[in-house]
Amino acid sequence: MCLAIPAKVVSVRQEKARVDFGEGVLREVNVTLVKAKVGDYVLVHAGYAIQVLDEKEAQETIRLWNEILEAETVQK
């Protein structure tokens, strides 16, 4: 039920945006809850974008994961 799918914003008109879920699946979603602009990735839950995904944070997560793995390896 709390499933949310990332999608790329293609166009925005007031509270509605057209988003691309990938592989050609386009749908209109409501963006009242977020400040989304064209090109952003948003998390879509039941027709509403609930958050804008942060690509920098995503890269940072991968960096941290690698750091965790490296740090532990050194400790060994």
């Binding site: 039920m1 709390c2 949310a4 039941a46 609930i50 958050q51 994961w65």
Partner: protein, 363 residues
């Protein structure tokens, strides 16, 4: 983005699994609880339990809103439908058992029950048919409640009302941690609920209950790193609140959504199927918006329903006390086609998820 950034990198998965085995206590049991149906799906689908040390258990808490919606509220929706109003709802609510019948049973008896993808679709249908009364069965946790709030504030048409059944996750987590016989050692907090509420509501778990709490995303690596972070906190004896899902969850959450929810809802004590009453765990419509309240508009109020049918063990599955396969009805009397218990209904219900992957999960 996920593909580009290797959120499913098998090499990383292998390495973090090794680290989990290194860091986990050698003998004493560790019980980590998640409270999200989507986490259960990731864990079961990708066989994550089979990767963990034998003494590290991940259990599924009450993270499926369909499963915790009490029979009394399904009964109210059924009553509205049987009175001749059209009821709109999400697809996974359709088969949830009420005391005597589900919305699907009501539909089979001629009632008008329509499945929608979102509350805005429900409103669009009502606008097209102004001479018919519509009630929307608004279930879901904090992830879903903001969409209901948006539409209430957008002034829905006169022929539209809401049967608000939204529930809140942190009070349920508090109830779990206070159940001493569950012996929990850590929480994987739900990623998408957290996009809305942020991290602050979880602060009490490490601070007051000494419970490591990590907000995690839904890729298999998110869950594995979440487990690792909890085990690390346990080993160091420093329970804290960490955010593994920073790409979607900010500390403050979605403040716009919080503001809209505060405007239209009041927080009250709520009954959860199989769990009883949990204080301050349910949204109800603020009296300013009473005109949209389906209870008042259609004069329905069911105080008590039959939540657990004879033989059903949903109340134990939902807090991870037993596995679905330990229920005597599992895939015998209770199947996805004809569910006896609510956990067998939604694709996020623990029993339903286990059916799909039965040959791959640890029985």
């Amino acid at each position: 983005m996920a593909e580009k950034l290797k959120f499913r990198d098998p090499d990383l998965a292998k390495r973090i699994t090794e680290k989990i085995h290194e860091i986990a206590p050698k003998k004493e049991a560790v019980k980590i609880c998640h409270v999200c149906g989507t986490h259960e799906w990731t864990i079961t689908h990708f066989g994550i339990r089979s990767l963990l040390p034998e003494n590290v258990e991940v259990i599924a808490g009450p993270g499926c809103p369909v499963c915790v919606t009490p029979a009394s509220e399904v009964d109210e929706a059924v009553q509205i439908a049987l009175k001749g109003m059209a009821v709109t709802c999400f697809g996974d609510v359709l088969r949830v058992p009420g005391s005597k019948m589900s919305l699907l049973d009501a539909k089979a008896e001629g009632a008008e029950v329509r499945v929608v993808y979102s509350v805005s679709d429900a409103i669009r249908i009502a606008e097209k048919e102004p001479n018919k009364e519509f009630a929307f069965f608004a279930i879901g946790f904090e992830t879903t409640a903001p969409s209901t709030a948006v539409e209430i504030l957008n002034k829905p048409p006169e022929n539209f009302s809401f049967l608000v059944s939204h529930r809140l996750i942190p009070p349920a987590m508090k109830m779990l941690v206070e159940m001493k016989d569950l012996n929990l050692n850590g929480f994987i907090a739900p990623g998408h609920v957290s996009t809305i509420i942020g991290l602050k509501p979880y602060e009490i778990f490490p601070k007051i209950y000494g419970m490591p709490t990590v907000v995690a995303g839904f890729e298999p690596l998110d869950v594995l790193f979440g487990v690792y972070m909890i085990l690390k906190q346990l080993r160091e004896g420093k329970p804290s609140l960490e955010n593994e899902y920073a790409r979607a969850v900010r500390w403050e959450g979605n403040t716009k959504a919080q503001e809209l929810m505060q405007k239209v809802f009041d927080v009250v004590d709520g009954n959860w199927r199989g769990l009883g009453t949990i204080s301050c765990s349910k949204f109800t419509l603020n009296e300013k918006y009473a005109v949209y309240d389906a209870h008042l508009k259609h004069d329905v109020k069911v105080e008590h329903g039959v939540d657990i049918q004879r033989g059903c063990r949903c109340h134990l599955v939902i807090i991870g006390k037993i596995k679905p396969t330990e229920c005597p009805l599992f895939m015998k009397a209770c199947t996805p086609q004809k569910p006896v218990g609510a956990c067998m209904v939604s694709i996020e219900g623990t029993c339903r998820i286990w059916v799909k992957t039965i040959n791959r999960v640890d029985k």
